[in-house]
Symmetry: C2
Subunit: 278 residues, 2 copies
DNA sequence: GTGTATTAGTGTATGGTGTACACAGTGCTT
DNA sequence: AAGCACTGTGTACACCATACACTAATACAC
């Protein structure tokens, strides 16, 4: 959040990276040697706390705190996660939490990573890559819907922890079996991950509404109220036509719609793989 | 946010929608006839305020307030947008803002819609649908990167206003030229929109960092710090391999990577169109 | 004109938030 | 026994959204 301190730690490059457009390579090169100060923030997600033996024994573990915060988020949404609420749920005072996390931001980092969980394990015998990737995307979507508050913290705010990496590892593993180059695998990974997150927004919104006690019909009415403004408005004829088109008898559920789109995306990827192989 | 009041306003349906999985049709049917109370929240985005003639003349317009809030968000991020900051920038006291917006949430709704802006106008003669959709996705991505705080408010929080609809109208118009059914056009729209939003996350994160004065290299170092944890860690061999693979000489920029993925997605859509046409 | 209803903006107050800081107690280490 | 590092608490502060009561301005009814 605050300004970083060491501006010229990445000098002595071939070209001055400040003038070019940023490439994935820059990120990846940066991942090899990193200013130690930048590691600080996500450190708590990785380190075993060294627990010096002196002093009174802590009544909590960082994990206790994270679990309590997650329960609150599950029950009442991310905005209900206050330092006081977390502490109260554990029977401590607000400030006790600060013995385990230096500030709320760091705690939320850990909460997000914990909520991210793990991808489903690989099954043997392994099916073709496409089936695996399909299952991965579905699982990721399901995971987001199960904890809809996960999507409430954008990228910058939440650094990426071990669980997040485990999802990337899983899909990287599946995609590695396509025979594509590392760069192309990275590209395909971005496609599937991007589609999955972006196209799950609606379902996440519904899940969030449900978690707050709203029924599906109520949520639909709310979203429909916004969409319906298009109907009869001359500014939005094409979109209104989509809304008012007669249903062809077998309307898609949100999940079916996601699956349908995913198949199109995978079609596109498959096409590329075949073209690359020749 | 608060619980809705009229629970059984959508009875007398064919099947009780509460038990089935929710379909797109439910949303769209809901958009035709809507509980008037639900219209309230997004009303300010649509109504011309009727301006009864009595009383002192207002010193501001809702638009003034929105503009001020947007300038603050552009300069210092969404978290800097406080009622006090907005009022101060306009030379008023905090509470004056409440004469124009009933609460901060509603103001932010308007700010988000204003920040969303309009899609680029159609050019004549119109190119094939694919080129138009491609341009649309790029424009949407550019729009998100230009105002990276837009992505900081998730779906539920921000209802959809007229500008948001104008983007949907634009792509619906382009996709209408494919000859697909309304349902399929809706599906394709979700795919492109989903991919565009999801796959722009990284670029949005970078844009946000830049808006806060961070250099590209600094941002890359931060993200790289998280990614780099995979390197050498036996839990993430495949992903680490992607990171450490030797660059093949022409690394993709973030934008090129997005375009590349978009082509794959459009390939998949095109394949479907061709299959449908036969 | 003279009231009177209606609205714009202000000042003040309240409850909630993250967190700095000083302190008291605890239990190993020397 | 003394020291020390650590845990949890109490207090305090700055900031935030916002309810409420008030003043001042304006236009309409008479």
């Amino acid at each position: 959040m605050a300004g970083r301190k060491t501006p010229n730690s990445t000098s002595r490059k071939k070209r001055p990276a400040s003038k070019r457009a940023l490439t994935h390579d820059d990120m990846m090169q940066a991942s090899v040697r990193v200013d130690p100060e930048l590691r600080r923030r996500s450190e708590l997600l990785w380190e075993d706390r060294s627990r010096s033996t002196r002093g009174p024994k802590p009544g909590l573990t960082p994990n206790d705190v994270v679990q309590a915060a997650m329960e609150i988020a599950d029950a009442d949404g991310l905005s209900a996660v206050t330092m006081h609420a977390v502490a109260a749920r554990l029977g401590f005072t607000t400030m006790a939490i600060y013995r385990y996390f230096p500030n709320k931001e760091t705690l939320l980092d850990a909460v997000v990573d914990a909520g991210t969980g793990f991808p489903p394990p690989v099954t043997e015998p392994r099916p073709e890559w496409r089936k695996e990737v399909f299952a991965w995307a579905r699982a990721k979507r399901a995971s987001l819907c199960a904890r809809p508050w996960l999507a409430e913290l954008p990228f910058v705010v939440a650094p990426h922890g071990p669980n997040w990496l485990s999802w990337l590892e899983a899909i990287a593993d599946s995609l590695s079996r396509t025979g594509l180059s590392a760069a192309d695998i990275g590209g395909m990974l971005s496609i599937v991950d991007g589609y999955t997150r972006g196209a799950s927004d609606t379902a996440i919104s519904l899940a969030r509404a449900r978690a707050r006690g709203m029924s599906g019909a109520e949520w639909a009415a709310g979203v429909g109220a916004d969409l319906g403004r298009a109907i009869g408005n001359p500014r939005f004829p094409r979109f209104a036509a989509l809304l008012t088109a007669p249903s062809d008898g077998h309307p898609r559920t949100l999940d079916e719609s996601f699956d349908f789109g995913l198949e199109r995306v995978l079609d596109g990827i498959e096409l590329y793989i075949k073209a690359s192989a020749s």
